[in-house]
């Protein structure tokens, strides 16, 4: 046990917790004012719901003793056997602290998906979705990569959850956006973000929290945490810049929302790579992420599916790029515990990264589709037209975000 590592991980865990309300504000500012609270609530309630799932059975299914490389068993249900001494996943911090750190990742992942179906899903349907998706998609995929499952066993690198969190949630987001359908008026009336200052604040909180997310994934206050901290900053900054430059060239104006979106895209992209690549590689990852995620946003309006807040373009494209970039740019010169990528003479890693990412996409899409069909049959996915036009805040929560 190491008090420095423990202190660092306690702070990192709190930082990751703060990302979920940050995401709530990021998304909340992007919707119309009549839906601001319902959008915030979908993220915020995960802090309650997923915390309980994590204790009851979530941690055990993700990190418990392996069953066939697919899922953990229930030996750790209700955190049985989890103590305050170091456990199997960390030598220097209490086992319970690792459980807490990973709990925050489980909380934010379903919240990320909410951007795709913002402004139209029933709250009851959403609660069922968060419960079932976390259980049937997040926990298995988390196990595959980090809990002793088959993707990790192939040697795939995912430092802080590019595949587990971002690719996984974005694959689900695409399915939900298509299954639930477009918002009423999509393509005919403008959907203006109602409060971009709130969105910028949310993006800033995400960026701040991401230091806990990425550096904390080293699980120790040392060299690798420092590397991940540094790569996180330069990738986010590079992507904020490259998104803005790209839109300035293509559409004539540098936008604030572009800078914030670019920063998030860069953070997403560097997530799997953070502790495995050097600073210059992180800049490349960020610069590319800002441009391709911006282009993906443009492509969305051509493809005409209503991923309301661009989860697929930012987390899907950014996450996939990050996973593949890790396979290109990872370097044992920076992290001897990692691996070398394609550009450092090891093409196998690139193949493994792509394999893990695409397997996750396929699994997440199929199971998400089934979950949605089940929920649709039980309670229905969408609010009725009257509630959608009047706003979900009033219809679903009997509240208004703003009063005159």
């Amino acid at each position: 046990m190491n008090s420095g590592d423990t202190a660092f991980m306690l702070v990192a865990t709190a930082l990751v917790m703060f990302m979920t309300p940050g995401l709530a504000l990021f998304y909340g500012g992007l919707v119309r004012s009549k839906n601001v609270l319902s959008t915030i609530m979908q993220s915020f309630i995960c802090l309650g719901l997923i915390s309980l799932i994590w204790v009851f059975y979530g941690y055990s299914l993700a990190f418990g003793p392996d069953i066939g490389g697919f899922i953990g068993n229930l030996d750790f249900a209700l955190l049985k056997g989890i103590g305050l001494t170091p456990g199997p996943y960390s030598d220097t911090i209490p086992d319970l602290l690792f459980v807490a750190f990973q709990m925050m990742f489980a909380i934010i992942t379903p919240a990320l998906i909410t951007g795709a179906f913002a402004e139209r899903m029933k709250f009851t349907a959403y609660i069922l979705f968060a419960l079932m998706w976390s259980t049937l998609v997040y926990l298995p995929v988390c196990h595959w990569v980090w809990g002793g499952g088959w993707i990790g066993a192939h040697g795939a690198l995912d430092f802080a959850g590019g595949t587990v969190i971002h690719i996984n949630s974005a694959a689900a987001a695409l399915v939900v956006a298509i299954v639930i359908g477009k918002r009423k008026g999509y393509g005919k009336e403008p959907f203006h973000p109602h409060n971009l200052t709130m969105t910028i604040l949310g993006a800033s909180i995400l960026w701040f929290g991401w230091f806990g997310f990425n550096a904390g994934s080293a699980l120790a206050a040392g060299d690798i945490a420092t590397l991940a901290f540094f790569t996180t900053q330069v990738a986010a900054g590079s992507a904020a810049l490259s998104w803005v430059v790209a839109e300035w060239m293509l559409q004539g104006k540098p936008t604030t929302l572009g800078a914030a979106s670019g920063a998030v895209a860069g953070l997403v992209a560097v997530t799997p790579a953070a502790g495995f690549v050097g600073p210059v590689s992180a800049i490349i990852i960020g610069l590319v992420a800002g441009v391709i995620c911006y282009l993906a946003v443009l492509l969305k309006s051509k493809l005409r599916y209503d991923d309301a807040l661009d989860v697929v373009a930012v987390h899907g494209v950014g996450g996939l790029w990050g996973a593949l970039a890790t396979g290109l740019l990872a370097s044992t010169a920076w992290n001897p515990g990692g691996a070398d990528g394609l550009f450092f003479g090891n093409p196998k890693l690139f193949a493994v990264q792509a394999y893990g990412a695409f397997a996750t996409i396929i699994y997440s899409m199929i199971v998400t589709f089934i979950i949605l069909k089940v929920i649709g049959a039980i309670v229905g996915l969408r609010v009725d037209v009257e509630a959608e036009v009047g706003g979900l805040d009033l219809a679903e929560h009997s509240e208004a975000g703003y009063t005159m």
Binding site: P190, H192, E247, Q251, K253, T255, S261, S301
Partner: protein, 112 residues
């Protein structure tokens, strides 16, 4: 008595107010309004999606004056609010039947 409603560009409000003050107009009511005429709306871009916003912010000034002052007021507003570009605004002149000062109950021109 006449009511003069002037729709002007928001950044011209201070100039118009001072010009009216200088000619002795002692009060006015203003509101922030949106609308469009010959001036086209502007473009807004959110994550690559471009929207044309038809309704442009303007300021509406309402003044009640004696009928003899109308021409001078119109001239003053036009002079102060003009940029020469499309979208400078419009002025409407309406008849007013009665004016009452709430505090004293005075009526007519005395109450302006």
């Amino acid at each position: 008595m006449k009511k003069i409603e002037a729709i002007i560009k928001p950044f011209k409000l201070d100039d118009v107010k001072e010009a009216l003050n200088d000619m002795g107009i002692k009060g006015m009511t203003i509101s922030e309004v949106k609308g469009y005429g010959r001036q086209k709306g502007h473009k807004e871009i959110y994550r690559g999606a471009e929207y044309i916003v038809d309704f442009i912010p303007k300021v509406k000034i309402e003044i009640i004056v004696d009928a003899t002052q109308v021409d001078e007021v119109i001239e003053t507003i036009c002079k102060a609010a003009q940029t020469g570009k499309i979208g400078d605004g419009k002025i409407f002149v309406l008849p007013v039947d009665e004016v009452i000062r709430v505090r004293t109950g005075e009526k007519g021109e005395e109450a302006i």
